[in-house]
């Protein structure tokens, strides 16, 4: 009698084993060292995450990696690009899968929060990112967080504005800054161990021949020069 119970227990354990263990708690960011210090091993589902950083800090790169990781696990992700500045070619080449990735580009940045509301309410997305929208009011942030909790979705608000940081009350706050060498510094400011992770990135430059009938004219040889001080001169051209 004990033998069948043991077998049943084993089978039950197999059935109940989560197929994707790393996505049950949080959504992986693609930066292993960052995931390691986050309590949910990634961006927490059902909660609000704030990603703050100035223009050029690298927060879009981080978010793109999160979307890539999420889609790579077969989950759906939605990205509300409120300022309509994402480059499609860049995303098409960087993401492993276009499976279930929705980019929502409202014509007015103010509609971004409403888009996030609709997406979260559908309950189909494991990740909803609101990027570039005007600062959310406390009431809107609470409502969206509640929707995220109901949908078990990770809701991420990316902003440049420092003031919005203290208003949203997210469970996790990441600050992204430019590093000295090409890359970014990600600091966990809230919701985890206060640490800074440095990630190096490159800038990809197209050096290819394309199927285009006309080979592009690239006679200009790259000239690079480091400058220690700037000097004003009348603008060229």
């Amino acid at each position: 009698m004990s033998m069948p119970i043991a077998v049943l227990r084993q089978q039950l354990a197999q059935v109940l084993r989560p197929p994707i263990p790393d996505t049950m708690g949080g959504l992986a960011t693609g930066v292993e060292s960052l995931d390691a210090i986050l309590p949910a091993r990634g961006l927490p589902r059902g909660r609000l995450t704030e990603v703050l950083g100035a223009r050029g800090s690298g927060k879009t790169t981080l978010l793109r990696q999160v979307v890539d990781q999420t889609a790579g696990h077969g989950l759906w992700a939605a990205y509300v690009d409120a300022r309509r500045t994402l480059a499609p070619g860049d995303w098409a080449r960087a993401c492993r899968s276009a499976h279930g990735v929705w980019m929502v580009r409202p014509r007015a940045a103010g509609a971004g929060a409403w888009c996030a509301d609709v997406l979260l309410r559908s309950g189909a997305f494991a990740l909803v990112i609101l990027d570039g929208a005007p600062p959310l009011t406390r009431q809107v942030a609470v409502r969206l967080t509640r929707l995220a909790r109901d949908a078990d979705a990770a809701f991420v608000v990316a902003a440049e504005d420092e003031r919005s940081a203290t208003m949203l009350g997210g469970a996790l706050r990441l600050r992204v800054e430019r590093a000295r060498r090409p890359g970014t510094r990600i600091t966990v400011e809230k919701g985890g161990i206060h640490r800074t992770i440095e990630v190096s990135y490159a800038i990809s430059v197209a050096r290819c021949l394309c199927t285009h009938p006309e080979v592009p004219d690239r006679r200009g040889v790259a000239r690079s020069r480091a400058r220690s001080a700037s000097t004003c001169k009348p603008p060229a051209g």
Binding site: G56, L75, T85, G89, S97, A202, C210, R223, C232
Partner: protein
């Protein structure tokens, strides 16, 4: 469906005629104790004329004769005329059809032309031919038409199960000019309708909303119909869930321009399908509720317009702004269409050419020299591009940019790499000649270019 339901009040066997819109077959046997066929014809005529003032009714042994009789009645050739209804006596179909033109006998146009060329212009002339000859000459189709010309028709109305009414009609206590109270009523109506659907194991495939408007046209004599406007929405997939149905209704109502106050609203489920009974899988986190996604998509598209919900595709172009494109997601299934292996590449020179291939797919072969387009490169900084490059003023020193003015702010440039000279499309209207510089300054790495035709500088984007 409404006509069928109305005709069921007269006879239990009612079938819409296949491929003949506006024609119904109604069973006419067994009415001897109820006034016979004349009484049935009168009742059917009265019912049909509530839908069309010139509706016609004919009773015969066969469907083909009855159909021909309704046409003949319009031409004033009725056998037994009584209030625009024609009743052909039992066993009299062949005799009735004999003088009827061949056009009243269902057959394909080629056969009809052949018979006309042979001088056969009536059903009787065609029926007079030998069946074997007809079959030998025109095959099974010809033989079937020959049988119809003789009044031998196997079509019969079938016993129709009475469909439950799936309409909820509500009147507002006072006319309103906004949609909020209407949405409230629609939600309540959907609650009732969805409960009925679930009880029958059905799902809504289409629903219609009818608004009764309190316009001047509603000031009609007693008994006249009020001014109503109906709109119907076809669902991408049948669903019986209130939340999704409500999203579709809301999308429909929000784009509805109102030219008069609303006095009433009716919600009807005009088409149903079997309930899929699809269930989510607790152990499959990738499972998605398709109906919910459809509802979200229709809401976004209705509110924000087309080309708002998109997905990225790569293009074989040099210019940063043309190296990719946004392709609209029109159905939830679109998001899965180019599924699992790598990003999508769109090839072609312009937006008009929508030839898409899937990288790494079985049938997708990219030329070797463009192989870079399907290398996944997630470890590079993301580029953000302004929708329209913005003019800037560049300070120039020692043949490299030293600073720029953008939006009335000066940004010193610590490092500049370039130029990367791009030109092309001289054979099209949008030819370009640009010198791109990748610069590094306080706002990080950014991309500026000199338009060599106008000698003006622009900020194109930045790496973030």
């Amino acid at each position: 469906m409404d006509v069928t339901a109305a005709l069921l009040a007269a006879s239990p066997r009612v079938s819409p005629a296949a491929d003949e819109p506006g024609v119904w077959w109604v069973g006419a046997s067994g009415f001897e104790r109820l006034g016979g066929e004349p009484a049935l014809a009168r009742e059917l005529l009265a019912l049909a004329r509530t839908w069309h003032p010139r509706a016609r009714v004919a009773i015969a042994d066969s469907c083909v004769a009855a159909r021909a009789a309704t046409w003949a009645n319009r031409q004033g050739q009725g056998e037994q005329r009584g209030e625009d209804a024609v009743i052909i006596p039992p066993a009299g179909d062949a005799r009735y059809l004999a003088p009827a033109p061949l056009a009243l006998i269902p057959m394909d146009s080629e056969l009809h032309e052949t018979l006309a060329a042979l001088g056969l212009r009536t059903a009787g002339a065609f029926a007079a031919l030998e069946g074997e000859d007809v079959e030998r000459r025109w095959g099974a189709d010809g033989l079937a038409a020959w049988h119809l010309a003789r009044g031998e028709d196997e079509r019969r109305p079938v016993l129709t199960p009475r469909q439950p009414s799936r309409v909820v009609d509500t009147e507002l206590p006072a006319p309103v000019e906004t949609m909020e109270p209407v949405l409230f009523l629609v939600r309540a109506a959907l609650d009732r309708l969805a409960a009925g659907l679930a009880a029958d194991g059905r799902a809504a495939a289409a629903l219609a909303i009818t608004l009764t408007l309190d316009s001047a046209r509603s000031a009609l004599p007693h008994g006249a119909r009020a001014h109503t406007v109906t709109r119907e929405v076809r669902l991408p997939r049948p669903t019986a869930r209130v939340a999704q149905l409500f999203e579709h209704c809301r999308a429909l109502l929000e784009e509805w321009p109102l030219d008069a106050p609303i006095a009433g609203v009716a919600v009807a489920i005009t088409a149903t399908g079997p309930s899929a009974g699809e269930q989510g899988d607790l152990l499959a986190p990738g499972w998605h509720d398709g109906a919910a996604v459809d509802a979200a998509l229709i809401r976004l598209r209705t509110e924000l317009g087309a080309d708002v919900v998109v997905r990225p595709v790569a293009r074989d172009e040099h210019r940063p702004d043309q190296a990719g494109a946004w392709v609209e997601i029109t159905q939830a299934d679109d998001a899965l269409a180019d599924g699992d292996a790598g990003g999508t590449t769109e090839r072609g020179e312009g937006r008009g050419e929508r030839r898409r291939i899937r990288n790494g797919g079985a049938g997708a072969k990219l030329p070797e020299h463009s192989a870079d387009t399907h290398v996944v490169d997630a470890r590079h900084l993301a580029l953000r591009l302004l929708e329209e490059p913005e003019p800037i003023t560049v300070e120039w020193e020692a043949n490299v940019p030293a600073g720029m003015w953008w939006r009335e702010c000066r940004s010193p440039i610590r490092r500049a790499t370039g130029p990367e000279r791009l030109s092309g499309h001289w054979w099209k209207d949008d030819d370009f000649h640009r010198d791109y510089w990748r610069c590094e300054g306080e706002m990080g790495e950014f991309l500026i270019f000199l338009d060599r035709r106008t000698r003006e500088w622009y900020l194109h984007g930045w790496y973030d």
